[in-house]
Symmetry: C2
Subunit: 199 residues, 2 copies
Amino acid sequence: MVQKSDEAPRRRGRPRSFDPAEVLGAASERFRTRGYAGTSLDDLVDATGLQRPSLYAAFGDKRAIYLATLDRTIERAGKGFDRLIAAGLPLRDSLQAMFRTVIDGYLTGETGPSGCIMVSTSAASAVDDAEIRERLAAFLKMEDDKIEQLLTAHGDPKAHAHARLATATIHSLSVRARAGASLEDLDALAAECVELIAG
Amino acid sequence: MVQKSDEAPRRRGRPRSFDPAEVLGAASERFRTRGYAGTSLDDLVDATGLQRPSLYAAFGDKRAIYLATLDRTIERAGKGFDRLIAAGLPLRDSLQAMFRTVIDGYLTGETGPSGCIMVSTSAASAVDDAEIRERLAAFLKMEDDKIEQLLTAHGDPKAHAHARLATATIHSLSVRARAGASLEDLDALAAECVELIAG
């Protein structure tokens, strides 16, 4: 199924070329909507527009695709925090920008507000799956560490504890978004956290 | 399948009597471990010791059993908060007792620390399932309201905002427990929240 060489002759039935990053993004959105166990291979075919053999050749089975979407999320979220830290905004502005990005993202979704794929889907499969659990733990550690780094750069003497409270607020925003909370309610919770840390 | 009357004659093949509350508790534990989509009917047979026809007669299909476990969780957690409020402890002791109960519960599970069935499994299915989403929203509202009631009884002028931060901390404790966080880490996060509210 896999093309062994770039020089393999073009032939009928050969899958059209596609952008792996775009396909992974589409798969990630479907997993974010329905969770790992709730997403079928047919869902992924529907979401990505690729047939099963092409998906399998490019990424492996459903579990491999899911793990790849989690790795993608950890990397992208980490880079987002790095950009925020590099921007060097005042503390309050940094925190407000962080929560703005988080909440706006959490309110998007294929069929409704879908929060965070890690917090709200990988956690559901983490108890019995060590590889998913390790990725969830890595994501939480990344969040804690990056926010602590941001707060330390601003001389917050309680950077460690405040970072964990900010992360806790982010986790709750994901759960609340999926429960149908309003933008106003999510903003109010974020504002209270900003006030506690930067007030 | 269902016995229409208590006076129906006992006959061969009639399911043995069982305690519906106990069966629902066992089903709830399996759902808490594997999530709604990740739990099969065979899992429920294994967890409860009942065969499919008995489960179906008593509770309905898998979805009906799951919704019943969520209703059970909302009711039990609500009663737990009511007992805490009725105990009339000093504010700090109340919050410490609340987090002690939450963390100890979150570290239990069939195969590992499993957190909260609502926050960490129902959220995964909430986007595309209105009935699950409504129950998750009801649970979050119950948590917010009960903790606000507790704080208001202690004259906390920021009871509304503090309650939502305490709830956020509870949500994060569930995610972190499922990610394999240590008791020490969970206790540290809870202690920071107590300090912010009662310090």
